[in-house]
């Protein structure tokens, strides 16, 4: 618990820096090499990479997440992307990120027209209260994004 309290101001400062200077996020990250948790810059970079440089649109994605997770070791997560799932129009991949875990990547889920529905669920670890971000890549190249916050009572970071 002590560690948690110590971490918070670091992260906040971090966020402020990035808001001020988005372009130097790389430098900020290199100045804080020992930072244990994923910072906003790392998450933003991962999301940007998943989106292939495109600006994601909102909508189409439904995230199924608990509002409060008592145990961060195993948080049920589910998502569904609206799509007819035909050969010409389907959801290719859904990338899931968590912005305050040690690493932002959670998983990438690849669908095919044979999936029938772009819906999946799994269980994930959450170090602390944070946002879960889903980025969906459609077969026509369009990108959608959704975000939802989960409050975590006991972190699942093995500490």
């Amino acid at each position: 618990m002590v560690r948690k309290i110590e971490m918070q101001p670091v992260n906040r400062r971090e966020v402020m820096k990035i808001v001020g200077a988005g372009a130097v996020t790389g430098i900020v990250a290199s100045l804080l090499p020992s930072l244990a948790h994923a910072d906003a810059a790392k998450t933003a970079a991962a999301v940007k990479k998943a989106a292939g440089g495109k600006t994601p649109a909102s909508g189409k994605i439904t995230l199924e997440l608990p509002q409060i997770a008592e145990n961060g070791n195993t948080v049920p997560i589910g998502f569904e992307v609206e799509s007819p799932m035909t050969d010409s129009n389907y959801v290719k991949t859904v990338h899931v990120f968590a912005d305050k875990n040690p690493n932002p990547e959670v998983g990438s889920f690849h669908f095919t027209p044979g999936s029938g529905r772009a819906k999946a669920s799994t269980r994930m670890r959450m170090a602390k209260t944070q946002n879960v971000i889903a980025v969906a890549e459609m077969s026509d190249g369009s990108i959608y994004m959704a975000k939802s916050e989960v409050k975590v009572t006991i972190g699942g970071c093995g500490g």
Binding site: P102, N103, F109, H110, F111, T112, S115, G116, K119, G158
Partner: protein, 109 residues
């Protein structure tokens, strides 16, 4: 980890064209690389399953890449459209290269 136990749940009988859910579970520590050995204080190296694939009669219908944020004993549920009778073959691969397999037979009417 060679003894990983896998379970797959899918309907035995299904009508053609219907979309059904497949639930899978495998036992695996999914060592996150963040935990420390209490005796030595050293970090325990990461060892996770990072690839899951479901093939339906030999054709890949769903796959996923996992990172350390996926919980131990990973659960994965997804959907498949029934086309023909046959088998759903799951394959999990971990970072040591170990491969775990489990199949489910389905009959499409």
């Amino acid at each position: 980890m060679a003894k990983s136990k896998a379970r797959v749940k899918a309907p035995k009988k299904i009508k053609k064209g219907e979309v059904f859910e497949v639930k899978t579970l495998i036992s695996h520590k999914m060592e996150s690389g963040q935990r420390k050995d209490k005796k030595t204080g050293k970090k325990i190296p990461q060892m996770i399953i990072n690839k899951f694939v479901c093939a339906y009669n030999g054709k890949e219908v769903f796959s996923s890449d996992w990172y350390a944020a996926i919980s131990a004993n990973p659960y994965m549920a997804f959907y498949v459209r029934a086309e023909a009778s046959g088998s759903l073959d799951m394959t999990w691969t971990d970072e040591s290269g170990a491969v775990f397999k489990k199949s489910a037979k389905i009959s499409v009417t």
